[in-house]
Symmetry: C2
Subunit: 196 residues, 2 copies
DNA sequence: CCTACCGATCGGTAGG
DNA sequence: CCTACCGATCGGTAGG
């Protein structure tokens, strides 16, 4: 009876994953039931299973989509001919913009990946480790070049990545500054803190 | 039969809350069952209810304990005669040390407070808002004094508080630097990023 | 502190 | 896409 309204350029599955992102962000993966999701989408719970295999698959979709986007970005960027500081600047801005525009899926993938099970769990853990190592490599490059002061690179990565996830509170705050101002402020505080 | 082993200076309830911190951190509040908790403590699930009222009470204990510690700290510190930068330095170090030594309860209170229900939910949300405002106030003081460069104070607070929560990854990492080095690095990057 | 058990809700399936 | 329903598990209680 009630059909899933899929957007112009999207399959019904994509519509479901999008609704799942919003719910997982709001209530967490474990506290979200398939009946909650069905209600949000406008069908009965059983009907969801014509488009997806399991609740777990929804979390997989979200986590791997986000991981791929960040991984692709760091690879193309790292291949370019920028200085280390310029690379870090670009990485940070990409993270900020992603958090501003797709914060629900980014937050979910950051906070709920623990609820995946193998082999997806190990896969995501690996990707996250590789990403952080690559990021740290860029910082170490900058330290060698004397662009960046002598800090522990993994600690700097950890600070930058987690600082960005603070944008979630920015979304919730009443009187937000503009996304552009937010970006400039974050770059100013974080990148300046690294420079020699 | 099997009795709860309470530590020398702790009630049985405290033993249960401590185990709950570890489990809520590991699996999340919603995915942790009272049977999981009972097993960890060494009794049957029903027996837990001789010491606590509900699962929700455990989360309340954790969240309010952490909130009180941070609130007390900022109040005593803000009453002192330090410069703004010195206050921020001290606040940051308190956060770092707390995350290093009591990271399970700090992470749980940071990540799971959404699962509280009113009136506890509103209470915690208020406390968090007040804390951030007070922190931002100190930064604004520093901007007026020309100790700190002209940044958006709420954004700086958001960066600092979330950066600190990155210490969770530090705990999980194989080759950790020492807590002292971690602290010095975080202060170096974050506080230097604020200075004029 | 345990055994026994409650109603509610969960993720998911069968069959149309 | 829905109705009907499954076994499992949930938080919590009664009664000893």
């Amino acid at each position: 009876m009630a059909k899933i309204k899929s957007k112009k350029n999207g399959t019904k599955k994509e519509t479901i994953v999008e609704a799942a992102s919003r719910l997982f962000h709001e209530k967490g993966f474990s506290a979200t039931s398939m009946r909650d999701l069905a209600e949000k989408v406008g069908v009965e719970a059983a009907s969801l299973y014509n488009h997806i295999q399991s609740k777990s698959e929804l979390l997989q979709e979200i986590c791997f989509k986000v991981a791929n986007e960040f991984m692709t970005n760091i690879e193309t960027l790292d291949a370019g001919a920028l200085t280390a500081i310029e690379k870090i600047n670009a990485l940070l801005r990409f993270h900020i913009q992603h958090m501003v525009h797709h914060f629900e899926e980014v937050v979910v993938s950051d906070r709920e990946w623990r609820h995946l099970s193998d082999p997806y769990l190990s896969n995501i853990q690996n990707q996250r480790r590789i990403y952080r190592k690559r990021f740290a490599g860029i910082i170490e490059e900058g330290i060698k070049n004397k662009e960046i002061k002598e800090i522990d690179a993994p600690t700097a990565v950890l600070i930058i990545l987690h600082a960005v996830s603070g944008i979630e509170s920015w979304h919730r705050s009443k009187r937000k500054i503009s996304p552009e101002l937010l970006e400039e402020n974050m770059v100013m505080i974080l990148v300046e803190g690294l420079k020699k």
